[in-house]
């Protein structure tokens, strides 16, 4: 009994245990449900999975199923970020525990009962529990906002090296607060239309209505919601990575106010999509995205500078090659920022090119091509977020030496091969005709599949290793049970 109690305590009462459980849940969900779509359907794997697991896939409910699938994965990611925040930032113990309990119960209910409802017939109790899960996560968000309140003197920043106001208010904490608050508010832009459409049992995917000239407020709200939630998850992760890497100095002092400004303006722009401000909403979004992306760029410049300085400190006049070698020495510290930079090629630049050339190029193509670009773009951003979390997780579990390099570089290289292929696939009509595209499509699909499947294999190896570790009396888990991420912030 003590055996189970100790493991349960690690998995559900320690930061690293909670993160491990959430990563495992996402991995299992991705592995199972990844096989019922995409290339697996062509290979006939979908039919086998559907038959074996007794899934009930009603054609008219496909969109509803996918909405639940996206939400259940996203909720687990939000939970991981919340565990990280509550472990990195100071807050009252009551709030920390309450937030963790609510969000853990919430995301597990969301995944189990949401997916049960979506893929195994309509059990309305399951649907109710799915909604309960989402509601608990919302309440956890509200509590997190309260817990992060930056104007409490206990949380003032005493050190001058970090961004702070004249009175000493911690500007980084303000950025976390602003992101958490706007995340809670932005969730309403999905919850309200979700209730509306759910009540009539109607579903649609945003990418299927994007071209229609007339959209209702509720439809605009859904489009705004999905964009801003992903952007906010990315912004929060940037703040978390900055916190872990102990981002400070002049660049920190410039970046944090920019992050707050960017987050607020970005939100106002996206909320504006569902209001009469819609015609200028995109302009507001660009205005908001720019400072937020600049803040991330400052973090990158600072951290890469640190890596080069640390790696060449023993040399008097390091040359270019030695600097590059120092930069690439530790993939787990280099990787998260590299992935953020790489995101610009796979997500931001694609989005900007599409916005600038929309009428001249993209709207001359069929809507289905635009759908491929939109879904590819969102999937790429989600995958990049996942890889950054996995890179941080690698550091969290104390990977060292060759294993650390192998794990880190595998994640970076495999995901970037897959994501670069997705980007070329999205944009293929710019340089190849429909009639002659098949060999290129085959190659790109192969590269995507190799990249993503090997990444999943790597993750499976890590998870099996962690599972086996749980059976050891003095396993690594016993060291992690008391660890907080704030103790492991880079010095």
């Amino acid at each position: 009994m003590q055996f189970i109690k100790d493991r349960f305590n690690y998995l559900f009462n320690s930061t690293k245990g909670l993160i491990l459980v959430a990563i495992a849940m996402i991995a299992i969900e991705t592995a199972i449900f990844g096989m019922v779509s995409g290339p697996m359907a062509e290979f006939g794997v979908r039919d086998v999975i559907v038959r074996t697991l007794g899934m009930k896939l009603v054609e008219a409910e496909r969109e509803g199923r996918i909405i639940i699938l996206y939400h259940s994965i996203a909720m687990a990611v939000v939970a991981i970020e919340t565990y990280m925040i509550t472990s990195l930032l100071m807050m009252k113990e009551f709030y920390k525990q309450a937030v963790r309990v609510l969000i853990t119960v919430g995301y597990i209910l969301t995944i189990i009962f949401g997916m049960g409802f979506a893929y195994w017939g309509h059990n309305w109790v399951f649907h109710g529990l799915f909604i309960t899960g989402l509601s608990l996560i919302f309440f956890a968000g509200v509590l997190l906002v309260i817990a992060l309140w930056p104007w409490n003197k206990e949380y003032y920043q005493p050190e001058k090296a970090y961004a702070r106001t004249k009175k000493g208010v911690d500007v980084e904490r303000m950025a976390f607060f602003a992101t958490a608050l706007t995340t809670v508010l932005s969730s309403l832009f999905g919850a309200i239309p979700g209730s509306y459409y759910g009540n009539g049992f109607e579903t649609f995917m945003a990418q299927d209505i994007i071209r229609l000239p007339e959209k209702t407020v509720m439809e605009y709200s859904v489009i705004g919601h999905l964009h801003i939630m992903l952007a906010l998850i990315a912004i929060m992760l940037t703040l978390i990575i900055g916190c872990w890497l102990n981002f400070k100095g002049i660049l920190h002092k410039i970046a944090m106010p920019l992050m707050i400004l960017g987050t607020i303006v970005l939100n106002l722009g996206v909320w504006g999509v569902a209001t009469p401000l819609e015609p200028v909403a995109h302009m507001i979004i660009y205005v908001g995205a720019t400072p937020a992306m600049l803040a991330a760029l400052f973090l990158l410049i600072w951290e890469w500078g640190q890596l080069i300085r640390e790696g060449t400190s023993h040399l008097q006049k390091p040359n270019f090659g030695q600097k590059i070698s120092a930069l690439l020495h530790d993939p787990l510290r280099f990787g998260p920022l590299w992935q953020m930079l790489f995101m610009n090629f796979t997500t931001s630049f694609v989005g900007i090119i599409m916005a600038v050339e929309l009428d001249k190029i993209f709207r001359l193509w069929p809507a289905l091509e635009e759908r491929i670009e939109l879904t590819g773009h969102w999937h790429a951003l989600s995958a990049i977020i996942a890889t950054i979390i996995l890179l941080y997780y690698g550091d969290m579990i104390g990977l060292k030496g060759k294993l650390r390099k192998l794990y880190g570089w595998s994640i970076i290289i495999l995901s970037d091969i897959a994501l670069a292929s997705v980007t070329v696939f999205e944009m293929k009509r710019l340089f190849i005709s429909e009639a002659t595209q098949q060999p290129l499509v085959n190659t790109l699909m192969l590269l995507m599949d190799i990249g993503l499947s090997l990444l999943l294999v790597l993750l499976a190896i890590v998870l099996i290793w962690r599972l086996l570790d749980l059976f050891k009396r003095k396993g690594r888990w016993t060291e992690e049970v008391e660890n907080e991420l704030s103790e492991e912030v880079e010095k």
Binding site: F201, W365, T443
Partner: protein, 300 residues
């Protein structure tokens, strides 16, 4: 040692994507026994429209083609319309007159004013006909395949030339679904690979290592077996063929402030989810593709 191996592997993979595609590769020819000149009457009455299957009435009878317009039928039209001056050659296109749409000045709306617009491209290697400067001929083997690489103007022009018209979205959907239930596919609730021609459906016309998926003859999925390949009878409740897969079908009807035209039915190049009856695709009316065709309707 490992790095060069990885680089060579990556290079070889990329090289494989540069394989030239032979668009004139031979195609198996089959007589499906389905008459592409046949029409079927869809009676007035209610049916379940859209994904949510909302009861919707069409209070008149109309007739719709049993199959998509074939390459052979379209080439006859091109020759006749070119000869009588309805259509003309303009550069590398055949163009024809269109009276224009009312321009609302809406966001992203293209202005389609009265004038000549592309009907079909000439000299496009993906087209299934030849043009010698005065006469069109079908490339052998493609006679009974659906006409593709035809713009919406080309579809509109064909139907109008014979006093037919393009179906509205509702007319198309009712013809595909019938009136009795809320089926997602013309033949029922589930889809198998031999129900229709869609992406990687393993039909005799596709080769995914080179040219990919190609069109199948109209009416191919009628329950017959062709050289060992068995099809399921995938006729719609009113007796129409190819209302899912093979080629997207242009439909008529124009939304105010929206210059795109809609297509339905999915195609040889789309996944099975896009073959569901209510799924819409759209493109500007000058767009053409090897995956887009059409059929016409007429009032009885």
């Amino acid at each position: 040692m490992k790095r060069p191996f990885l680089a060579v592997l990556l290079f070889a993979t990329l090289l494989a994507s540069c394989v030239p595609v032979d668009l004139s590769a031979s195609i198996p020819t089959y007589d499906t026994g389905v008459d592409p000149t046949a029409w079927i009457t869809v009676p007035a009455g209610s049916f379940n429209a859209g994904q949510e299957a909302k009861p919707t009435a069409i209070d008149y009878d109309y007739q719709i083609m049993v199959t998509d317009v074939t390459v052979s039928q379209y080439v006859d039209f091109l020759n006749a319309a070119l000869a009588d001056g309805t259509l003309k050659v303009s550069g590398d296109q055949i163009v024809g007159p269109y009276p224009g749409d009312e321009f609302q000045g809406a966001k992203h709306e293209l202005e389609i004013s009265a004038g000549d617009y592309i009907i079909v491209p000439i000299n496009d290697p993906a087209s299934r006909f030849n043009f010698d400067g005065s006469n069109f001929t079908v490339i052998s083997g493609w006679e009974n395949h659906p006409m593709t690489n035809v713009s919406w103007f080309g579809a509109w022009s064909y139907c109008g030339y014979y006093s037919f018209r393009l179906p509205s979205e509702l007319e198309w959907e009712k013809a595909a679904r019938g009136s009795a239930d809320d089926r997602p596919f013309p033949w029922g609730y589930e889809i198998a690979r031999n129900n229709a021609n869609f992406y990687a459906s393993r039909d005799p016309f596709e080769d995914m290592s080179t040219f990919g998926s190609r069109t199948s003859p109209v009416g191919f999925y009628n329950g017959k077996t062709y050289d060992g390949y068995s099809t399921l009878n995938s006729v719609s409740p009113y007796g129409l063929y190819d209302m899912a897969g093979n080629v997207w079908q242009w439909v008529g009807g124009i939304l105010p402030g929206f210059s795109d035209r809609f297509m339905h039915g999915g195609s040889k190049g789309t996944y099975d989810m896009d073959l569901r009856i209510w799924v819409r695709n759209s493109a500007p009316p000058m767009y053409y593709s090897p995956s887009v065709g059409f059929r016409c309707v007429q009032n009885p």
